[in-house]
Amino acid sequence: MDNLHPLESKVLLALAPQPGSPSTLDHLADSTGLEPSQLSMAVEWLLAKSLIAVHAETVAYIASLTPIGEVFFEKYAPIERVLSAAREAGQTGKRLTIQDIQAKEALEPSDVSKAVGTLKKEGAILIVQGGCIESTGRNSPTAEAMRALLQELRSGQRELQTFAEPLRAVLQQHAVKRGNAREPFRVDERVTRSFLLTPSGQEVADQLSRDGVAEEVSQLTPELLKEGAWRTKQFRKYTISLRAPRIAAGKRHPYREFLDLVKLKLVSMGFQEMRGTLVETEFWNMDALFMPQFHPARDIHDVYFVKNPTHARDIAEPYLTNVTQVHENGARAGSTGWGYQFDAERARRLVLRSQGTAVSARRLATSPSVPGKYFSIARCFRYDQVDATHATDFFQVEGIVLGSDINFRTLLGLLNLFAREVAQAKEVKFLPAYFPFTEPSVEMHVRHPKLGWMELGGAGLFRPEVTTPLGVSVPVIAWGLGLDRMAMVALGIHDIRDLFSADLEFIRTMRGSF
């Protein structure tokens, strides 16, 4: 009762006034004013709830024209055409064979022979010597019945029973039957059901007429509110267990959400953001970081070179001179240097930034704060085949810490802080590592709740060969965090390319747990 749909109520109320007298769908359509589709839906629902029952099923036979019948109406039925051809031949004295008629009237042989058979039986024609057809001048009742039936059914279907006997016989004879589709008429069975209220349906209907059904509405409207009419209304209850329709939200990319969180953590630990350029000189990308120009990682197979222009105009002084000297002989940095001839031309060569440390190097050269903490989330490029673990470009989270209190132990302390704040890791391991620009160098491993021991980042104290030429005289920590693996676990993906996915459905459904 609670769950009655407005359509159901209408049908119940239409049946209620004449208890015991059944109504057909046609009657119900009239009395409820519902569309056929709405009505049949409501009836099915009510039957399923046993509020109404089928009283009787009556079968009616409905005659109608087939497409063949349409053609016959346009061009006359074969029987008429055969008869009129025979009469015409009789008047002109021509001799006419069955084949002649077939050819002349462009009729199917089966239609012609059937028509000839009927006409002959009815005495309207004679077959004479040589297979010729002659008209007897008598009428053919079948031909006339056909004409009448085609005429009649052209204007609409009709119940078979309403045709008088001779016509009905002709109709049935020429109706589509299995195995013979070339007929002008068809006769369809139509089941008409009539319905009655069941006792429980009667109860519900009575209650409905007592309480009134017009009160139930599905949607609260401004009008109902304005007029206060909602007070007398009932609000249809919904099936709230159904699944909600999908919508799309405006939202951040989950990977960016992750990076935003990292950004927030770093700022909250006292780090200032630094930014750099996508295109860098070899000088800032490598030379300033004391990577010798013959270093294997500077090979053509590791870094992307820019096509045009190939070189920057110049490198700012005094950095060029300072870095040149530190490479050649370690001047003023307390180093032996690499002992090779520095190529200033090579230093101006433009590359796609291959490491975020380039941003740090530039920061060191532009009067950084001491003490100072800096970070960047920089897009970097490596000359790698793109696969599940290598993207064409990727984010590096990197930074520096300057201060008179910086040493190996404070470096480890800072990494501990990162492990706790960024990776929520309780267990940390420090391993010796190698980076061209730091000494000592450390690799930090943390125990990730899902991945077990994993490398979280690398760090070290910048070599004096890096800091001295850039005018920095305090120790500097250089650190980098490898967060992509952590991000992939948080986002539930296994292919680094999915961090940069171009599939909207995937991005809409991807969510992070962090």
Binding site: L278, G330, L412, Y434, P440, S441, D503
Partner: protein, 572 residues
Amino acid sequence: MPTISLQRDDLEALIAGPDETASRISIDQLEQWLMLVKGELKGHNPETGELRIELQDSNRPDLWCCEGIARQIRTKQQGAASTYPFFKKQKRVAGKLVVAPGLEQVRPYVAACTAIGYRVTASGLAQLIQTQEKLADIFGRKRRSVSIGLYRLAPIAFPVSYDLVKPDDVRFMPLGMETVMTLREILMVHPKGVEYGGIVSGHDRLPILRDAKGQVLSFPPIINSREIGEVQVGDDHLFVEVTGTDLHMVALTLNIFAANLADRGAVIAPVEIQSPVKTPFGKRWQTPIDFGAPRSIPLKAIEAALGEALGSKEVTTALKSYGYTVKSAGLKVAVQLPPYRNDLLHTVDVVEDVAISQGYARFAPVMPSQFTVGGLSRLEQMADRVRHLMVGMEFQEIISNIMGSHQDFCTRMRLDGSEWAKVVEVDNVMSLSYSCLRQWITPSLLQVETNSSRAFYPHRMFEVGEVAVPDARADVGSRTITVLGAVIAHAGAHFSEIHSCLDLLLYYLDRSFTLEPVPHPSFLEGRAGRIMLNGQAIGLLGELHPEVLEQWQIGVPAVALELEIDRLLDEA
């Protein structure tokens, strides 16, 4: 850096040393010890006993082999490095090697020694060859600065000569060939000649190593002779030679080989090198050679860098047990590297070795305590505001790669031949799909649209990201700009839809803009605008041209917005 393959029992035997019985080393123990060599165990096959170890330190080529790893571990256990008498000048040499004039222009330096008494085993030979390859390939930059030859000693008659010859004047049978070939033929036909020929190209005379009888040892740095230069299992008289362009790298490489062979039980005898020109080693010297020098370091420098008052005793113990020669003198320590190392550039290199020798766990972490203020750049703050507003307008954020193709960034956008088609291109392209940097973001978003016709509509997406715009005035030839790109795509997508977004966005950012019609090939004519702020163009918006949509195989109309976030800062 290199990953090498070695046999567990070979490593165990080398760690024990020639006079001791090897004992089983657990994988856990091994991983602990690998910290001494910055090594990482990459793989372990219990059935074959194969270990795969990656070595990180590109300045420690002595560690890129089983012998070197074992030596560093053994040194730590012994508390000091083993002594190798052959690094001191010897009264007797195995023979002489005479360098001809003119080589200083081609490949000036050579070092050599003999090794007798180690009978080469199959796994030992595999290790020798691996070390030879890793050193020549990575340390020697694909044989350019260093290459190595190993020979059977017996057929060689001293003195050996390192000479220059014309490419057609000498012929010999190289390794891997069945016939005698001239040097020119080797460069043209032999796989190694084709691979490494570039190193000696441009010279009309080429280096050759021959013995006193005129037999060819090798054509450095290309290929050895097949007769003398093919060491086989069972050989126990060996000759080792290194040639190259850097005197110290050449000497160091030979020192590593000599130490390795000595660790396997060979007796090393030096070879005297005679040079026609004066070198930092003089005109005559013996190799192997200890060319290192002691260096005096204030104890305080080490302690300050480590943040720990270790004292001279602990520093001395740590460095000795890491292979150094150490003399402690008051507030200073005089340190010298073993002859198979040459990576002491600065005090900090010693500092790290102290820390590694003692183990990083020896040093208790201390939190940096100096106060600093954190914060985001103004650009990032503005970018974040824009992102939050776009999310509020129901756009989905996208992150795309910055590298892509000219096809996507220009051709499919109908920009070829227009002023909009300038992009930063890469010279050494690996794949045409990744050959330039995007100059705007719309193509990145259309890439998403192309892949997403089955995602329910409407599609509203944006990206705030970096692009690179060529600019002759910029010192690196291009400017990196942070840009907002946004695309709306659905059956009824319309100019006014994206226009409203722009209008609202800039309303909240308090920037009053105007639109100017712009003929832009990516947009329908008369339905594209340039966004103007204080007389400066700061972006574009419009209805994408149907041909652009066709190029991207997009079946619904789409409108796009492109806005330079850097320019929004100018006014503030």
